[in-house]
């Protein structure tokens, strides 16, 4: 009964009463269907009633309670009603469509399908039928061929005659091309038929044209060059300035087959302001996905985004611009300029979709490796975006997740380093509104190497936020961050900071659940270690006052500093220097030197494992300070990676004394002096991102007269410096390989230094520009060191 109620909902308001009565009198769908078919046979001359019945039949047939045999009977009945020839032409067309709809919406047997195909072919061949029914029968046959691929293969010749029929040509071309595409083996005379279809393409209507092209172009190989060329010429002549996308798609697809897209209306179309944006985007995609974009077909400038473009159009244009510039080996400067405009646009627009376009362009740059300094641009842009607009941190997290695997070497690490560094420098009030996004970002950062992710810095920022905003409801998120840090990093190293943050969460939150979790987590990290470990972790422990420590002259561990951090195994990866700009806040940067720590195996050292290892670095306080390192466990044959973090207050070479205190499993504690670490002057100069041009920087600095100090240094033994340049000793300061004698660097306190080595009147000089006069002697020493 429920089915009948459904049928009633499909009845139009002007439904004749007798039809309503038939439906209400029927007890099941089968009976309704039978009665409707009877009524249809009896009322063939009542168009309105026929129309309603034909609307209802497919609905009733879709009822799963109706048996297949009933449906087959219904199909047969409908064919008989058609053959009675009492219906008007439009109802005949509708009846044919109903037959095919009923046939294809259940699982028909092959025999029934073949019967219906033969019935439709008979309709098609009947010369007394109006054109509309012939068209409909062909359309029905197409639908059957699409659902039951290959069923019309043996019938293909039936359609050839219609290829010359004025009104049936389009459908005949469509069905012929479809049969050829679906055929498992080539049909008889396939080449000739394909040639005929290719010749017909320009005269077909746009919808058919593109459908036929889709069906056959894949089969038209080298031997069809002439026919393809002829069709293309006719299409270009007829549709020189069309805006129909079906025609344009056909033209560009044929051009692809012939070796490349060249001059067509699609180039005008893809940026035409009068077209809806969606259509611009499709045509930009059409060109962007083309494997062959001929140079002479278009002007690069055409694809440059303009001020009126939205985020989507800018994105598509930049992708195309990137591809076009790369293919034509052109300078990437225009691309970079428009990419910067896109960032400015996205920030101003503020929508997530606009920001997404920035990250999609960056993804494309990294994948296409164009511009050549793509990684540097990405680093620079991501750090700047994240630091200035923390609202886009979710995009950065997503970006890091995508590129976080090893595909892009140092890039994800460098992005995290740059951002953590930047957040550390930001004022609390700037960071506060975005603390939730910040926590999410730090969670992602915990998955990276800790020398980059800087857990202590992260915890310091979180602590500041918690102290500032005591009633924030981010307690659970902070707890999850702490858990992530414990899970993914050597948490003993930052245990004090971790405890402080957990205490803050515990005291500042009113929810007992959060309080309890914070307390449990804090207890866990406090009690998980042995007593000796706890002692070794005490940062305030005064080593000299305890008699229990055994001093040894033998360095029990070996600390190796990795100064060649710019060189990696992957020749494609680039060094990733710091982000710097004239506007950057003046502050001292920290420096990080990767370390490898291993246990020394020799006669004096028979220990196979140390626990609670703490390395202290002793430097002259006037020079700066260095952070101690904690290693929870160090086993024989194990190399632990850590990072020496120094905070220089002056820019000069330094020797750093090191000593380690460590415990053995049997409770003995050793204090051992390690080999001193020598850091050169150039280690405290940061290389500069080559995303900027040296000349641009030079001119910009010169123009800021209040911030620019210059000097010229005569180089008496210039050959030594030139050799050092040649041998790559100053490579990290070279902005481009083309001009190796132009050097750029940034001091720890973020002052820019530019140096160019020139031959002036037979004498080699170094021209130096600095932002602060105190830097000049440092650079003099550096250059002197290399030239003597």
């Amino acid at each position: 009964m429920s089915k009948e109620i459904t049928v009633f909902t499909y009845l139009p308001p002007d439904c004749p009463e007798r039809l309503k009565k038939i439906i209400s009198d029927s007890v099941c769908s089968n009976e309704t269907l039978d009665n409707l078919l009877k009524l249809l046979g009896d009322a063939s001359n009542e168009s309105h009633l026929v129309n309603i019945i034909l609307d209802l039949v497919p609905i009733i047939c879709s009822d799963s309670t109706i048996q297949s045999s009933e449906l087959e009977f219904a199909i047969l009945s409908l064919q008989n009603i058609y053959n009675m020839n009492l219906l008007k032409a439009d109802m005949k067309c509708k009846l044919l469509e109903v037959i095919v709809t009923v046939l294809l919406t259940y699982q028909p047997s092959q025999e029934v399908v073949v019967d219906v195909v033969q019935f439709l072919l008979n309709v098609l061949e009947n010369k007394t039928e109006p054109i509309s029914t012939s068209l409909t029968s062909m359309d029905c046959l197409i639908e059957i061929e699409m659902s039951t691929q290959g069923i019309l293969e043996a019938q293909i010749e039936n359609f050839f005659d219609f290829l010359n029929h004025d009104q049936l040509r389009d459908k005949a071309s469509e069905i012929t091309s479809l049969i050829i595409r679906n055929a498992t083996n080539p049909i008889p005379n396939q080449s000739r038929v394909l040639c005929d279809l290719l010749e017909l393409i320009p005269s077909l209507k746009p919808f058919t044209m593109v459908t036929v092209a889709k069906n056959i172009l894949g089969l038209c190989r080298v031997e069809f060059q002439t026919e393809l060329n002829n069709s293309l010429e006719k299409l270009l002549e007829k549709y020189k300035t069309t805006f129909d996308l079906c025609v344009l798609q056909t033209i560009t697809s044929i051009q692809e087959c012939l070796g490349g897209i060249t001059e067509t209306a699609v180039f005008l179309y893809c940026t035409h302001p009068a077209m809806p944006v969606g259509r611009n985007l499709i045509s930009l995609d059409l060109l962007g996905s083309s494997l062959h974009l001929k140079k002479d077909g278009f002007e690069i400038q055409q694809f440059e985004p303009n001020d009126f473009d939205g985020a989507d159009a800018r994105l598509k244009k930049l992708l195309l611009l990137n591809k076009a510039l790369y293919n034509q080996s052109l300078d990437s400067a225009p691309f970079y300029q428009h990419f910067e405009n896109l960032i400015a646009f996205a920030v101003k627009n503020g929508s997530s979709r606009a920001l997404a376009s920035v990250f999609r362009v960056m993804r494309d740059m990294l994948e296409s490796k164009f511009p050549t300094n793509a990684a540097q641009i990405v680093l620079h842009s991501t750090v700047a975006l994240g630091a200035r607009h923390p609202a886009c941190l979710p995009h950065i997290i997503d970006f890091l997740k995508h590129f976080g695997s090893n595909h892009h070497g140092q890039l994800p690490d460098a992005i995290i380093l740059g951002l953590v560094d930047a957040f550390d420098e930001l004022e609390n009030s700037t960071v506060m509104p975005h603390v939730e996004q910040l926590i999410q970002f730090f969670m992602e950062a915990t998955l990276y190497r800790y020398e980059f992710c800087q857990p202590r810095m992260i915890l310091r920022i979180i602590r500041n936020c918690l102290e500032e905003k005591k009633n924030s409801n981010c307690g659970i998120a902070v707890l999850e961050l702490c858990q992530a840090l414990i899970r993914n990093q050597d948490y003993e190293i930052f245990q004090p900071e971790l405890k402080t943050v957990l205490s803050l969460v515990e005291t500042s939150h009113s929810e007992s659940d959060v309080k309890q979790r914070a307390w449990m987590l804090r207890s866990l990290i406090t009690h998980v270690n042995t007593d000796s470990l706890k002692g070794a972790f005490d940062a305030d422990m005064d080593l000299s006052s305890t008699g229990k420590i055994e001093k040894t002259d033998n360095p029990l561990i070996y600390v190796k500093i990795l100064l060649d951090y710019n060189k990696t195994g992957d020749t494609r990866s680039e060094s990733l220097p710091v982000y710097w700009s004239l506007e950057r806040k003046r502050s001292f940067r920290s420096f990080y030197f990767p370390l490898e720590i291993s246990l020394i195996k020799n006669a004096e050292n028979y220990h196979r494992e140390f626990v609670g290892l703490k390395i202290d670095f002793i430097v002259d306080p006037k020079w700066g300070r260095a952070e101690p390192i904690y290693i929870p466990v160090l086993e024989v044959d194990q190399v632990r990676k850590a990072c020496l973090q120094v905070h220089p207050l002056v820019c000069s070479a330094a020797t750093i004394e090191a000593r380690a205190v460590m415990s053995t499993m049997d409770g003995r504690i050793f204090l051992s002096c390690l080999e001193p670490i020598h850091l050169k002057l150039e280690d405290f100069l940061n290389p500069l991102s080559s995303s900027k041009s040296f000349v641009e920087l030079w001119d910009r600095l010169v123009s800021q007269s209040d911030k620019c100090y210059s000097s010229v240094l005569f180089l008496p033994q210039h050959e030594k410096l030139l050799k050092a340049v040649e041998y790559g000793e100053l490579e990290r300061f070279q902005m481009t390989k083309k001009k190796p004698t132009e050097l750029a660097m940034v001091t720890p306190d973020s002052f820019l230094v530019l140096v160019r080595i020139l031959l002036v009147k037979n004498s080699w000089n170094a021209e130096i520009l600095v932002e602060d006069p105190s830097v000049l002697p440092v650079i003099h020493s550096l250059l002197t060191e290399f030239s003597t």
Binding site: S62, V210, T242, D244, A274, L281, L286, N306, A356, D398
Partner: protein
Amino acid sequence: MSLRCLFVVSITESKLLFYRIFPTVEKRWKNEHPNFANLCIPNDQELLDPLLNELGILNPNIFQITRDSCQKKLQAPLFWIPFGFNSQIFWPVIVVECPQNRLLCGVPYLDQNLQPTGNQQSMCVARSFDVVLVLELLSKLAHLIQLSPSKMADQLNRTIQLWLPFGRASGHQQLELQSLPPTLQRTMWLRSRPKIELQIKEEVRMIASNLSVKADAYGTIYLTVDPDAEYSHNIKLELGFNKLPGIPSILFHPSALAHWEKAICHINIQELQEKIFPLCHYSFSLEMPPIQPLLKIRIGELGKVSIFIQLHLGVTMKNTLNRLEVRLPMPTGNRIARILSAASLGLVSLIKDGTQLLWNLGAFASSSSNPKLKDDLTLNVDVVMEKLEASLVNTYALILFTSAASVSGAHLSLPQPTEFKLVSTSELKSSTYRVWNQDAEEIV
């Protein structure tokens, strides 16, 4: 190519106005995707929320991984919408924006393996034919979407029945004419020369700042022929742009053959496939925008802000304007508390909870009042800010206007007397017409 489903969404009501599945196509899709056979295209709220979210209409400023991830390639106007129950599986939809905040959407038959997490490279090549076909198909139906919901549903059902019973063009292109909204019931005694209506619709856009003024205009000429008239011959027209120094960048309907002789374009419509269609789209750059605006904002003491706006009207524009207003949206975080003083023609008011200042010159920009308009219209207004969180340096004003005269001077004529009567109308409206604060100096 086939459509699996067609539906219409009202954005303002967040409601489905029409929904139609093509049963044979849907059955075929399920047969060919046995692993996804139980995935039905959603309906009602299950369809609306994820769709509007994907389009950025819902949650525009919140990062949504299925929408904004860098891993997802933008394929607009094709969008892949996540199923509510599993955000890893998507259904495709092609969206056409229509008047009255409505969306005409079609779900194309696409291989499910082409969803965003699938093979991106193969997708570009394989899908472009289908996307193009569906987009063109939807465009042919777009004119029906502005009708009232019941009329629209009725017309769409009729059109689908006649023109795309299996979710693709049936070949009965001529029959689509029957799906046009019923025009006047013409009786025999009214029969006169058949009419060809031409609507010239132009839009002008401009961005002005201290550094530059960029302006261009574009237009479309829509051609409508009498639905009950017979057109046995070609239609020949001549098109010219008498206010332009050269020929604009122009694209034509595929049934129109065009060739230029000096500044006149001879158009021959050989095979009339539709009785209402865009004859051509054109665009051109403007050296001098029709309204030249100036905006200066200065921040004074105690939250007082002085705003100066000047509009310089071109002569033609002055005489043909029929709507003119200026809107000044405050940057996010800023709100105007009240207007202290205003000196100008027209009405100055605060709208949208003080986040926008509106200067309405509608009463002065009607045809009867145009002669009273001066060449330069100025507004001096002092306001007090309730919230001043962001700098006003990056503030802009939007100028909205309509006019009865085109900027291009586009005109069409019949080359020789024929059985047709030509009726032509023109309208111009502003698109993105924006002026940035040209007084970056801030007095604090």
